[in-house]
Symmetry: C2
Subunit: 442 residues, 2 copies
């Protein structure tokens, strides 16, 4: 078509997913969707592109800077979504009259952030969000933590920890310190503590006029994690001092821990960690992050929190929300990097039907269809008439096939198990039953 070859390449921070990783991605999403629906959540979708005014100024200065913004053909200022939570807040404000509230919804889709690409951090990545809208209680908070924990366990991706906190605790402390108006600056600084260290936090907060005594109090609270949740709760009760907001936040943490343990049957995965603040401005209560113990350096592979005022940007109606997300792109990247992905993500056993130059193509298509109709196999009909048998066997092997069927010109089917080496001959009509029997017996 063209004379000049265009270099085939993707943009930095954008990646292709090849077949093996694609199978794992699909297996993970199937596990997530199965768990999300089992909690009574319904799938919804919002567009990738929204009016810029809907998205901007909601996540904070950082996400505004990273936003992919442009003008569409009609000259409208639009942007690619940078998360799924802000569009959801717009969605419920727009459609609340048609929705059953409290809404239990999940949304699986890509989001875009123009951040500096590094391992596990992409400019395009898949998020799997579950949210409850229209309720302010801890039962909803606990449902979100439970659904995220259950989905992560179902994904079988290795050892995890969910770190839980509540913004009301920090709010209470800042009120006591008469720093309520500097909450955003404090959150920003604390969210970077892993990068800039406590010294960096001191410097940054000093810069906005927070006294060093106040910074010390804040750092003591943030750094107070003890051996057990009970110990951390006890120590925090002393540290936050008398503050209705702080006490309410601590009580919520306690209740959420109990409810998640009851809902998931496990109390060892959620850690109360007062250092968790989350980078986004819109959180108002519970916040949490999930870390993978094999790959802490990729950052959080999930997280979420309560955002009671976000929909208020779009409607006068009260639509408080709480939600969580699983970062499938980051999990895939982490496990690939660690070489910890299982060999195959395929659900069914693969059969390759090979072909000779003289075999009957129509008969072959019928054999493939019959084997597929058993429901037990994925069946791959090799397309090229003129490929050598050896090349086709090599193909079957590199595809991870377990069985190979070959039709000879006389109409006999040769059936081979590539693992056991077992081999036999069958009629055209008997091949599917024979394979199903082998598969059931192995």
């Amino acid at each position: 078509m063209s004379e000049q070859i265009i270099q085939p390449r993707t943009l930095r921070g954008f990646t292709d997913i090849l077949p093996a990783a694609g199978q794992h991605r699909r297996r993970m999403i199937m596990a997530i969707e199965d768990v999300f629906t089992s909690f009574g959540f319904d799938p919804i979708q919002t567009p990738a592109v929204e009016y810029a005014e809907i998205l901007k100024g909601k996540g904070g200065a950082e996400s505004d800077k990273q936003m992919f913004e442009f003008e569409d053909q009609g000259g409208r200022a639009v942007a690619l979504r940078f998360d799924l939570t802000v569009p959801l807040a717009r969605f419920v404000a727009q459609h609340h009259a048609r929705l059953t509230l409290p809404l239990r919804a999940f949304n699986i889709g890509y989001v875009w952030r123009g951040e500096r690409p590094q391992r596990g951090r992409y400019r395009e990545f898949l998020q799997c969000d579950a949210d409850i809208i229209g309720d302010t209680g801890v039962t909803a908070d606990a449902e979100i933590l439970s659904i995220i924990q259950t989905a992560l366990l179902r994904m079988e991706i290795g050892p995890l920890v969910l770190r839980l906190n509540n913004r009301r605790i920090l709010n209470g402390l800042l009120e006591n310190l008469r720093l309520g108006d500097r909450i955003v600056a404090v959150l920003r600084a604390l969210d970077k503590i892993d990068k800039i260290g406590p010294g960096g936090v001191v410097a940054e907060l000093g810069g906005v006029g927070v006294s060093s005594a106040a910074v010390d109090r804040i750092l003591a609270v943030v750094g107070c994690r003890q051996q057990t949740n009970e110990q951390t709760l006890a120590r925090m009760a002393e540290l936050v001092g008398a503050s209705a907001e702080g006490e309410a936040g601590l009580a919520e943490v306690r209740q959420v821990l109990d409810l998640v343990a009851a809902a998931t049957g496990r109390s060892d995965l959620v850690r109360f960690d007062p250092s968790i603040v989350r980078g986004l401005d819109y959180y108002t209560g519970v916040v949490f992050e999930v870390m993978h113990e094999w790959a802490p350096e990729v950052g959080s592979i999930g997280g979420g929190g309560r955002y009671d005022n976000l929909s208020g940007l779009y409607t006068a109606r009260k639509l408080p929300g709480v939600g969580g997300t699983i970062g499938v792109s980051r999990i895939l990247s982490a496990l690939e990097g660690l070489d910890r992905l299982p060999k195959s993500g395929r659900q069914r056993t693969l059969v390759v039907v090979t072909r000779g130059p003289e075999c009957d193509s129509v008969a072959l298509a019928g054999i493939a269809a019959a084997v597929r109709a058993t429901g037990t196999f994925d069946v791959d009909l090799f397309p090229a008439r003129d490929a050598k048998h050896g090349a086709q066997m090599k193909y079957a092997d590199s595809r991870g096939a377990r069985y190979v069927l070959t039709l000879d010109p006389e109409g006999t089917v040769s059936v081979k198990d590539l693992v056991s080496g077992m081999r036999t001959a069958s009629s055209v009509t008997g091949a599917a039953d024979l394979l199903a029997k082998w598969e059931a017996e192995r």
Copy 2:
């Protein structure tokens, strides 16, 4: 957070998917993925955003005009993909050394086209593509038609017809008429024949210097569909005249019809229709479109074809391809418009666990978990402590729940079947087994 309320709205041509439609969308995608994998196809993904030079000039003037193009933060000229085929051609050119060829891959993702929105036509829509790369034979063509037909039947969306043609037939005719260099203009005009009529085609082709005798020959070929495929094949053999290319195209049509019938067990769904040309420039052989008999006015709900030269834009290596797509967004819109979607797209029976102000929240979370663990139910734990029982029953009804569980302050669970009206009392530990028994017996 803000004083001024921002109007919650989506861009024209972009739509939200609400829970009921979302369930159907998910059910359709699950059916498609199950069929695609059963044919031995592996899931892959390419980015939504690509270098503009990768995407532009590949589909034709129309798709270039409709493309969402912009500059990213680094000043690079980028665009949103307008289909999944051009990115796939780039993908195989880039990764062929790491892929097992022939590649059998599927890709499910959104694409963006800034066309005039109308019923069933969106600016953002979901495509589900399956492709074979690295083979030129009719077996691969037939596999693609078979996989698309099988997936559409599995989706249970009502009566369909797949209309099949082959570009080589028209190419042969144009060669005979010494119009080979005007192929693109002829294809463009013919693709619009439903809109502009034969008169419009005559005018448009006259404008590029095609004689009226030649236009008559072309229109006779394009309009020659007969009662049966056999009759159309016979009539076309007369019309295309002596042309190696035209005869090869007809022979391919005949073989594909036979192979698809063998692979799917049905020969009534694929119609040889010489009027099908497809609007995109890159097709070189087989082309097909799927029409829904209930909603022909929404246009094709699927289609595809062979594109042997597309990867040649990105690599000197020969990577011929054939693929098909299913337009889930358009199918959903058509069935919604016709009120033909089944009432629920849910896979499992829904149970709502209600709550009173004095009931034990931890016990309630345990009951919900136990019912969920049966694997038979989706379980929705109503979050609000203070909601009245009547409001919770109304909620359960509007969610489409079959069963409701209520825990009284004494620790007894009341179990109710909303359809039969049956109701009984159970212990906390016995509720899950009881429900599973009811469900198995109904």
